[in-house]
C-alpha cells in the first residue's frame, strides 16, 4: 500500500525538534557511527525520534487510527546531498525523500518527511543519504536482524507485542507486579473480568490480544516492555540483571516449582525482603547492589503503566481508570471519577477535545 505522506508544515517539525537537536558542534557525518553515538549521547530525549505524533488534517470519523510519524535528519544548512527514508512502513524499494525544513525561508539544516502509520505497529527503517544507507543517528532504537544487519526501529501508539523482554522475564514480571497493584484482590479481579467481557466485540478483538493475561491485569507488563524499549531504555539493564537475580532467588526459596508458577506467598516473601533490605539468598550483590532500588523502579513503572493514557500500551481499554470509576461512587451510584468526560473519543466522551 502506498504510504500517505503529509505536510504538517515546518513550524510543526521545528516545534518538535529544536529543543533536542539545536546544540553547538557539527552534526555527525553520514555513516560515522562513533560521531553519531557521541551526538546522540548528549540528547536527553533522543528516543523522541522519529516523532510519533498526530495527524493535523481533518480525518473522516471512521478512518482507522494512525500516527503521524516525522523523520528528522540533521545536517548543515546548504548541504545539497539528498536524504530519503526507506522502511517497512512503506515499500522497501521506494525511498521517500526528506525535504529541507525552512525557517523564514532559510535552510535550517534539518531534513524531514512525515508519513501516516497505523497505530500499534512496529517498523524498521534506514536513511539513504547521498546514495548510502545509514542508521538514524539520533534514534537510539535499533534492531539487529538474524542476518546480522542492523536497522533503526520505531513503534506507534498502543503497540501490543513484547519488543525486548523475554517470555520468562515477562512472566516473572507479571507475578511481581501483582504484588504491587490493586488488581489482584477478589473485587478488582472480578471487576476486570466483567469489564473486559463487557467491551463490545470489536473492542475486544482490538484489546484482548494486547494484554498478557489480560483478565487479571491492565496490560502493565506489556507497557513496561515499551518503556524499556524506548522512553526509559536506560533502565533495561536494571531489569535484565534483576530479573535474573529474582529468578534465582525464587528458585532458592522454593526449589520445587517454576518461579512464575509459584504461589503468591513466594513473591510476597521476596517483595518483603527487597523492601526491607534483608539479605536475599541467591541474589548476586556484586551484579546489583541494591534490590530495594529495583523495587522502587518497579513500583513507579507498574503504577505509571497501569494508569497512564492507553496510548502507552498499558491501562488497556482504560481498565485502570475504569476500576477507579467503578470503585468510587456516591450514594446515587454516580461515579466519583468521571474520567471519560474530559477525554477524546472513542476512549472518552468529550464532544470538544479530540
Amino acid at each position: 500500500m502506498a504510504v500517505a505522506v503529509r505536510d504538517p508544515g515546518s513550524e510543526y517539525v521545528l516545534n518538535h525538534c529544536t529543543k533536542h537537536l539545536s546544540r553547538s558542534g557539527p552534526p555527525p557525518e553520514p555513516g560515522d557511527e562513533a560521531a553519531a553515538t557521541a551526538f546522540r549521547a548528549r540528547i536527553a530525549e533522543a528516543w523522541r525520534f522519529p516523532i510519533v505524533g498526530f495527524v493535523r488534517e481533518v480525518r473522516p470519523d471512521d478512518a482507522p487510527p494512525v500516527n503521524l510519524v516525522t523523520f528528522v535528519y540533521k545536517t548543515t544548512p546548504g548541504d545539497g546531498r539528498p536524504v530519503a527514508v526507506l522502511g517497512t512502513f512503506g515499500t522497501l524499494y521506494e525511498p521517500i525523500p526528506l525535504t529541507p525544513v525552512l525557517f523564514e525561508g532559510e535552510d535550517t539544516g534539518y531534513r524531514a518527511v512525515s508519513v501516516e502509520v497505523p497505530v500499534a505497529e512496529l517498523h524498521l527503517y534506514k536513511y539513504l543519504v547521498d546514495g548510502r544507507f545509514v542508521l538514524d543517528p539520533i534514534n537510539p532504537q535499533r534492531k539487529r536482524l538474524a542476518n546480522g544487519r542492523t536497522w533503526s526501529r520505531f513503534f506507534t501508539d498502543g503497540f501490543l507485542q513484547p519488543i525486548i523482554l523475554e517470555p520468562w522475564e515477562l512472566r516473572i514480571l507479571y507475578r511481581l507486579i501483582d504484588q504491587i497493584l490493586p488488581f489482584r484482590s477478589g473485587d478488582a479481579e472480578n471487576f476486570l473480568r466483567r469489564y473486559y467481557f463487557g467491551l463490545n466485540r470489536d473492542q475486544r478483538k482490538a484489546e484482548m490480544p494486547k494484554a498478557f493475561r489480560l483478565d487479571e491485569s491492565v496490560g502493565e507488563v506489556n507497557a513496561i516492555d515499551k518503556l524499556l524499549a524506548r522512553d526509559e531504555a536506560h533502565r533495561l539493564a536494571d531489569y535484565r540483571i534483576c530479573l535474573k537475580q529474582i529468578d534465582r532467588a525464587l528458585r532458592q526459596q522454593n526449589p520445587f516449582v517454576e518461579p512464575y508458577e509459584m504461589p503468591a506467598e513466594d513473591f510476597i516473601e521476596l517483595y518483603d525482603k527487597m523492601a526491607n533490605g534483608v539479605t536475599i539468598a541467591g541474589w548476586d550483590y556484586g551484579a546489583y547492589a541494591d534490590p530495594k532500588f529495583f523495587l522502587y523502579l518497579l513500583r513507579r513503572h507498574a503504577v505509571t503503566t497501569a494508569f497512564a493514557h492507553p496510548r502507552y500500551a498499558g491501562n488497556v481499554g482504560a481498565a485502570g481508570w475504569a476500576y477507579l470509576e467503578f470503585r468510587y461512587a456516591d450514594r446515587n451510584k454516580k461515579t466519583l471519577f468521571d474520567w471519560r468526560a474530559a477525554l477524546e473519543k472513542p476512549l472518552g466522551t468529550s464532544p470538544y477535545y479530540s
Binding site: V55, E106, T108, Q179, I180, Y296, R299, T304, L324, Y352
Partner: protein, 617 residues
C-alpha cells in the same frame, strides 16, 4: 528575513506578551522571540487536534537522569514536562546547604510560546496596596517584628516606585484583556475601575469545606472577612478581546463547565480556554501586519553602543547565529533567564557591561515566595477530576491589622487547591513529595502500599484530599542572587544561571504563622461543630530537603526597579538605568514579591510599560 523592528520582545510570557499586544494594536512593528515551540490550541489546527494533550505523562514524563558533571546530585532522576527545557542541556544550578552545587528543575516556568502561562494554574490575584509599600508600612508600624533581630526588614524593604492607585487601571486592563473569571466582593483591594471579571464556574463540591473554613477563620480573626471566588485565568464566556469562544454543546449552547478537567496545573490547555498569553494576547494580533513571532529561537546576548542596544543576537532553530535590531528592546525571559541574558551580554560587550553594572545590583535581591499550606483528607469523597486550579480565596491574612497583630512584615493570600492530586498519576507521584525535584520518591519508597495496602491508600485518598495554600512576600536579601555559574555550561557552551538564596528567619516565622492559618481553615471547615477536624499536616517550603531550590514557579527580582539609580537596576518605567532603549518586564523588576501569585501583576505592569512605550515609538 526582516531584521529591524520598532520593538523586539524577548520572551512571550506574562511580561512580554502584553507589550507586543498593545504595540501591534497601535500599528507598531513588533518581533517576539521565544526559545520554545509555538504549540497551538485546537482551533488553530485544521484537524482540531492540539499539541497539548490531556495526558498525565505530558506534565511529568519519563525518567531522565541528571548527568551534568560536577553537580552534587548528578545521577538523580527527574521528570519534566514536554515544554520544560532539559536540565542536562540547560541546567539551573543552586547552592545547597552544604555549599555544594546542585541541579534543579525548580527555577523554570516553561519554555514555549506563552511561557509559564501555558502551564500555570491561572490563579490571578492582585497584590494589596500594602504589598506595594512595605517599606513605609514597616517604618510606621506599631508592633515589633518577630525574628528580625538585625532589623533587615526595615533596611531591605522597598516601596514600589508607584502606588496601587497607579497600577489599578492596569490590573483592570489585564483582567479584561487576558480573560479572567472570579468575584471581587470581599477582596481587600480596591476595584476602582470596576469589576472586569467573567463569572466563575461552579466550585467543585469539595471546596465547600474550604469556603466554610475560610469564613470561620475570618470570624475568629475578628475581621469577619469572607472568602471570594479565586480569580482564574480561564474564560467562562465568549471573550471578545481575544475572539475566543466557549465550546457549544449539541444544542448549540455554550458549555463553559467543560473547562473543568483537572488537566490544569502543569498542562497546556488544548482548547485554549485557559488564558495563556498566546491565546489571549498574541494569537489575536498574529494576523496584523506589524506582528511577527520567531519561536524556537534563543536570544544569546545583546550588544549596545552609547547606551542604545543596537543588536539582538540569536540562534535560529537550526542553530545559525543571526541578529536583528529594534528601536526598543524588551527583555522578558522569566527573571533567572533575564538576569542571565543581561550578564552574558555584559560579559561580551564593554559598553553593555559598564552600563548594566553601574551599580552591583544586577542579579541581587532575587525573590520567590514564602509558600506552603496544609492538607487534610476530608470526610466526604468528591469527583475532583472536574476542577480548575482553585475555587476559594481569602484576604483575611493580608490586612494591616493582621500583620500588626502577628508581628509580620507582610501578608499572604490564602486559597484552596482543587485540581491537585485529582488524577491518578498525580496522586501517586506527588504522594509524600510536592516539588518537582523529588517527584515519585514518596510513592516509590512507600513499599507498604501494595495490593490491599494500595487499595486502602486509594480508599483513603482518592477524591478526598483538600489542600489550602498561602502565598506571601519573601524578605529581600542582598545575598539572594543570580550569578553566572563559573564552570557549568549549557548545550551551546554558555555559562548557566547559578541561584544562591536562603530563607530569612522572619520568612520562617511568617511561613509557620501562615501555614497554621491554612491548617485552621481545614480544621474549621472539616468539622462545622467542634471546629477541630484532624488534618494530615501543615508546613512550608523552607522545611523541605531541597528548601534552597524551591521557588514555587515564582521567579522574581534580580533587576528591581526604583526611583534611585544607585538602589535599583531599572527606572520606574522598567528601563535599565543608563540605557536609552532597554526594558526588562518579566518578574525580575519586583523589589518585593507580593502577597499573592505574581503573574497578574507582571501582566498589569507590562501593560503599564506598553503605554509608556507608545509615547516613545
Amino acid at each position: 528575513m526582516r531584521d529591524s523592528f520598532d520593538v523586539v520582545v524577548i520572551g512571550s510570557g506574562a511580561g512580554g506578551a502584553p507589550i507586543a499586544n498593545r504595540l501591534v494594536r497601535q500599528g507598531k512593528s513588533v518581533l517576539v522571540f521565544d526559545k520554545g515551540p509555538l504549540l497551538r490550541p485546537d482551533y488553530e489546527v485544521p484537524g482540531r487536534r492540539s499539541d497539548y494533550r490531556r495526558d498525565e505523562l505530558f506534565s511529568s514524563g519519563a525518567e531522565k537522569i541528571l548527568r551534568v558533571p560536577g553537580l552534587a546530585n548528578a545521577g538523580v532522576s527527574y521528570y519534566s514536562s514536554h515544554v520544560e527545557p532539559d536540565i542536562n542541556d540547560e541546567p539551573h544550578v543552586y547552592r545547597g546547604p552544604d555549599n555544594r552545587d546542585y541541579g534543579t528543575i525548580e527555577g523554570y516556568t516553561a519554555q514555549v510560546v506563552g511561557g509559564g502561562t501555558q502551564l500555570y494554574g491561572g490563579v490571578s490575584l492582585r497584590f494589596t496596596p500594602t504589598d506595594l509599600r512595605l517599606k513605609s508600612f514597616n517604618e510606621q508600624r506599631r508592633s515589633p517584628l518577630k525574628d528580625d533581630p538585625a532589623g533587615d526588614v526595615k533596611r531591605e524593604a522597598r516601596d514600589w516606585p508607584y502606588d496601587y492607585a497607579t497600577l489599578e487601571p492596569y490590573y483592570a486592563m489585564a483582567e479584561e484583556l487576558v480573560g479572567i473569571c472570579g468575584t471581587n466582593d470581599n477582596q481587600q483591594k480596591p476595584f476602582t475601575s470596576g469589576n472586569r471579571y467573567q463569572p466563575p464556574l461552579q466550585p467543585n463540591p469539595i471546596s465547600a469545606y474550604a469556603n466554610d473554613g475560610m469564613a470561620e477563620l475570618g470570624r475568629r480573626l475578628g475581621s469577619n472577612i469572607e472568602p471570594y471566588r479565586t480569580p482564574l485565568a480561564v474564560i467562562t464566556r465568549d471573550h471578545a478581546p481575544s475572539g475566543r469562544k466557549i465550546p457549544r454543546d449539541a444544542a448549540g449552547n455554550p458549555d463553559p463547565e467543560s473547562a473543568k478537567t483537572s488537566y490544569v496545573n502543569r498542562y497546556g490547555d488544548p482548547l485554549g480556554l485557559k488564558s495563556n498569553t498566546w491565546v489571549s494576547l498574541l494569537g489575536p494580533v498574529a494576523r496584523e501586519a506589524g506582528f511577527e513571532i520567531r519561536p524556537n529561537c534563543v536570544v544569546t546576548h545583546l550588544s549596545s553602543q552609547n547606551g542604545r542596544v543596537t543588536q539582538v543576537h540569536y540562534l535560529d532553530p537550526g542553530g545559525i547565529a543571526r541578529t536583528v535590531s529594534g528601536r526598543i528592546v524588551v527583555v522578558a525571559c522569566s527573571a533567572i533567564e533575564s538576569v542571565r541574558l543581561l550578564k552574558l551580554s555584559a560579559a561580551q560587550d564593554d559598553d553593555f557591561d559598564r552600563r548594566i553594572n553601574q551599580n552591583p545590583l544586577l542579579g541581587r535581591y532575587f525573590l520567590t515566595h514564602c509558600f506552603g499550606g496544609a492538607r487534610a483528607l476530608m470526610p466526604g469523597r468528591f469527583d475532583k477530576s472536574k476542577a480548575l486550579d482553585a475555587d476559594w480565596a481569602t484576604d483575611c491574612c493580608a490586612t494591616d491589622e493582621f500583620l500588626e497583630a502577628n508581628n509580620l512584615w507582610a501578608g499572604a493570600a490564602i486559597y484552596n487547591n482543587t485540581s491537585d492530586q485529582a488524577l491518578p498519576l498525580s496522586l501517586f507521584r506527588t504522594h509524600g513529595s510536592q516539588d518537582l525535584d523529588t517527584l515519585w520518591n514518596g510513592f516509590m519508597s512507600d513499599v507498604g502500599m501494595r495490593a490491599d495496602g494500595f487499595i486502602k491508600f486509594l480508599d483513603d485518598e482518592f477524591g478526598r484530599g483538600l489542600s489550602i495554600s498561602f502565598m506571601a512576600n519573601q524578605v529581600p536579601q542582598f545575598d539572594n542572587r543570580i550569578e553566572l555559574h563559573p564552570t557549568v555550561k549549557d548545550k551551546w557552551g554558555r555559562p548557566v544561571a547559578y541561584v544562591i538564596k536562603t530563607w530569612h528567619p522572619h520568612d520562617r516565622y511568617l511561613m509557620d504563622t501562615m501555614a497554621r492559618q491554612c491548617g485552621n481553615v481545614l480544621r474549621y471547615g472539616g468539622d462545622p461543630v467542634g471546629r477541630n477536624y484532624p488534618i494530615q499536616g501543615q508546613g512550608a517550603i523552607y522545611m523541605a530537603e531541597n528548601a534552597l531550590a524551591r521557588m514555587a514557579n515564582h521567579i522574581l527580582g534580580g533587576a528591581r526597579f526604583g526611583t534611585d539609580p544607585k538602589d535599583s537596576v531599572l527606572d520606574p518605567q522598567n528601563r535599565a538605568w543608563e540605557f536609552d532603549n532597554l526594558y526588562v518586564t518579566d518578574g525580575a523588576f519586583m523589589p518585593t514579591s507580593g502577597g499573592a501569585n505574581p503573574t497578574l501583576t507582571i501582566q498589569a505592569n507590562a501593560f503599564r510599560v506598553a503605554d509608556h512605550l507608545l509615547t516613545r515609538v
